[in-house]
């Protein structure tokens, strides 16, 4: 992938632009509704779903609590089975390790299975900078890569594209990357899938190195697990001589038996199927293959240190929360400015990047009022970070294959200020309706974490003063009673719209009516309504 999320403006501005794109809204509405219905049907079929969900949550919490022990157990089991384990503290180190392993094979290209972790670390761009071309093989990732685009959904990265757009991308770009699209390509999904099959077939049969992620790692046995649909995963995991898997340290499960819970939770929550077409598991070096496992931290231990926020590490990347989110359905994934969009992205991105504490965020970040309402007014501070700040020298053009715009920048190398503003706005990219928590197969209380992150982020002076005043009034019943009587008397003078910066709040909301008399006063006057 050559495009980059870096330097994107804060969420409200992205959202305002996205909701103005009627094609995008149409595509998203159709797709999220379809998959929501499928998931509901498949989950409804399982009588013990809530018990399964509780088991999933508990196994993950247990693993995270003893992560050090299980990581060591995994390392030993993988080594025993003939694999090599590497540890990467951040994105740069993971990219260096993978590039070094590929170079050691003497190859200059790799095939890739769709992997969130490698997107997070910007692996493709880092490999390109060292003259290695990474070919995405998942159909949606191929669409994104050919279109010089960004993924907008965890499961269906090209969800923002419809069939006509995909046909154009294939016709224009496939030839640059390999076998061209057929002359008479139509926009039928079947024809487009067939074009992808032909385009990638020879590459699968001839490429010597593959890079993957994993859905699960089993500490007890050293087994890795990949769930997929198309068979591109099986191709990459099976045919190449060398397999390199980059996996976040939170993907561990203690025992092989634990898989029974997650192989029931994930497919039904994710694609809305009883089971996804293909699941591959392998332990160490299989069938003569050379196997490397790169264990990735890249901010995960920072998330783990937060008592409330650490539950985000339970995430199994099913994307059910995206599909039910009223905000995601309207703005799509790009507005979140990260490979992790939607509700889970809103809590994961700021924590992984370490911008959640506000330490590196600009003073007076997002006011609480800047909810992503259509046409909502932007606070003046949320201006776009200029793309000019990115190191322009870091462009990598590999043998003319990569579009010249390919900016090879790993997130870790960027100044924190480039993403701090966006990240500070993410916890507000929600109406706190709680639908995401309802559907989460590992019961991550996303609204709880959103509120927690909002509290941690810096607030404008005016807001802090207002909150302090409200605290003073609400602290004593006598003060509250006086304030209520006063506001009751002055209610005629309260404007429908608030002045100044506070207008951002009333632009999209009505000020509640102030009653002439408080409930307590009414009760005293009427003796509980009896007089």
């Amino acid at each position: 992938m050559s495009a980059t999320f870096l330097g994107m403006p804060a969420f409200p501005r992205n959202a305002a632009r996205a909701v103005g794109d009627s094609q995008l809204r149409f595509n998203l509405r159709k797709a999220t509704r379809t998959i929501r219905g499928r998931r509901a049907a498949m989950v409804g079929e399982v009588p013990g779903w809530e018990e399964l969900r509780a088991a999933g949550r508990q196994i993950k919490d247990h693993t995270l609590r003893h992560l050090d022990r299980y990581l060591l157990q995994l390392e030993e089991a993988v080594a025993r089975a003939g694999g090599r384990v590497h540890w990467a503290a951040d994105a740069d180190e993971a990219n260096r390790i993978v590039a070094g392993l590929v170079e050691a094979t003497g190859e200059t290209s790799v095939v890739k299975v769709k992997s969130m972790a490698t997107q997070e670390i910007g692996l493709n761009e880092a490999l390109a900078a060292r003259g290695i071309t990474a070919y995405e093989t998942d159909l949606a990732e191929l669409i994104v890569q050919l279109g010089d685009d960004l993924p907008s959904h965890i499961l269906v990265p090209a969800i923002h594209r419809n069939r006509a757009e995909i046909r154009e991308i294939f016709r224009e770009k496939m030839a640059e990357w390999g076998r061209p699209a057929p002359e008479d390509l139509t926009d039928e999904p079947r024809a487009l899938a067939e074009a992808a099959r032909l385009h990638l077939r020879e590459r699968f049969l001839s490429t010597k190195v593959a890079v993957s992620g994993a859905n699960f790692m089993i500490a007890e046995t050293g087994t890795l697990v990949v769930l997929e649909s198309e068979g591109n995963g099986r191709m990459c995991l099976t045919l190449p001589e060398t397999l390199i898997s980059v996996v976040g340290i939170e993907k561990l499960l203690p025992t092989w038996q634990d898989l029974e819970v997650f192989l029931q939770l994930l497919p039904r929550s994710s694609t809305g199927e009883r089971m996804n077409p293909y699941t591959s598991t392998w332990t160490g070096a299989s069938e003569g293959q050379e196997f490397h496992l790169v264990l990735l931290d890249n901010g995960r231990t920072r998330v783990l240190a937060d008592e409330v926020g650490r539950q985000a590490l339970r995430c199994i990347r099913c994307s059910a929360c995206l599909n039910v989110c009223p905000v995601y359905e309207r703005v799509g994934g790009h507005a979140y400015g990260s490979v992790y969009p939607g509700p889970i992205g809103a809590i994961l991105t700021p924590q992984l990047r370490g911008t959640d504490s506000g330490a590196s965020a600009p003073p007076g970040g997002m006011p609480a009022s800047a909810a992503p309402a259509p046409g909502g007014r932007m606070p003046a501070s949320a201006t776009a970070v200029s793309r000019g700040r990115m190191p322009a020298s870091a462009t990598a053009v590999s043998r003319g294959r990569m579009p010249a715009s390919a900016t090879a920048v790993s997130r870790g190398r960027m100044p924190a200020s480039a993403t701090a503003e966006l990240d500070a706005s993410l916890p507000y990219a929600s109406s706190l309706c709680g639908a995401c928590y309802e559907v989460c197969p590992v019961a991550i209380d996303i609204p709880e974490v959103l509120v927690h992150l909002r509290a941690k982020a810096p607030h404008p002076r005016a807001e802090r003063l207002a909150m302090r005043a409200a605290g003073w009034v609400l602290d004593r019943p006598v003060r509250l009673a006086r304030a209520q009587r006063l506001s009751g008397r002055l209610r005629r003078f309260v404007p429908r719209r608030l002045p100044g910066p506070a207008a951002a709040w009333t632009d999209t909301r009505d000020i509640p009516d102030i009653p002439a008399e408080s409930f307590r006063d009414w009760w005293d006057r009427t003796d509980g309504g009896t007089r």
Binding site: I59, H62, A158, L205, P277, T283, T301, A305
Partner: protein, 208 residues
């Protein structure tokens, strides 16, 4: 400090003082092993738009021949260890077109084959899943991946009710492939299309 030690020390610092959470939580009740397991399995496999037949043992060879004839397959891979009765049916129908994998076929040779006939390790009724473990009757993973057509024979006794029973029955030391219908994608407007990179046609013969 190595990155290994750095990550481990960060983990320890992060969870220091956090309350313990026991590992074994509630587990879903195992699916009821009913008499209708075979029918459930066949129905669920068919839901994925795979072709399914349920036959008596004496009819297995005939079902293989009929399937290969319908497919007009000329060159079919037969893994080592396929029961002689099944392998014989393929050879009798195709003659030299029935090819073994010893010595191993190249990827190009596999690509040139019309299909593959295998057994399996486990079938899962609830999800209509077939699990291969590269054991006898199945061969290495590439055999059921590169050819465009996979004919899989499942004995009724290999079918378990649900996912937990399958996990318990399988050996994680072997490379496993769980197959639920033909290769598919929903990446374009969430329209399901069968057949991308894996076999586009999956045909399953359940032998009672």
């Amino acid at each position: 400090m190595s990155s290994r030690d750095l990550i481990l020390s960060r983990v320890r610092a992060a969870v220091a003082g956090a309350p313990d959470v026991p590992h074994t939580g509630p587990r879903a009740a195992p699916a009821a092993a009913g008499e209708r397991t075979v029918e459930l399995f066949a129905g669920r496999v068919a839901d994925y738009r795979a072709v399914v037949h349920v036959v008596e043992p004496a009819e297995a060879a005939g079902a293989i021949t009929a399937a290969l004839a319908r497919r007009a397959a000329e060159r079919v891979v037969v893994p080592g260890g396929l029961p002689e009765e099944w392998a014989h049916a393929v050879r009798a129908h195709l003659g030299d077109g029935a090819v073994g994998d010893d010595p191993p076929l190249s990827a190009a040779e596999l690509d040139a084959a019309c299909g593959v006939v295998t057994g399996c390790a486990v079938g899962i009724a609830e999800t209509g899943t077939i699990v291969l473990d590269t054991g006898p009757r199945q061969g290495r993973r590439a055999l059921t991946l590169v050819p465009d057509y996979h004919l899989c024979l499942v004995r009724a006794g290999q079918i378990v009710p649900g996912v937990p029973e399958a996990v318990a029955a399988l050996d994680p030391a072997r490379p496993l492939t769980w197959i639920s219908g033909p290769s598919a994608t929903s990446d374009i407007e969430l329209d399901r299309v069968e057949g991308v990179h894996g076999p586009r046609t999956l045909e399953v013969v359940v032998v009672r």
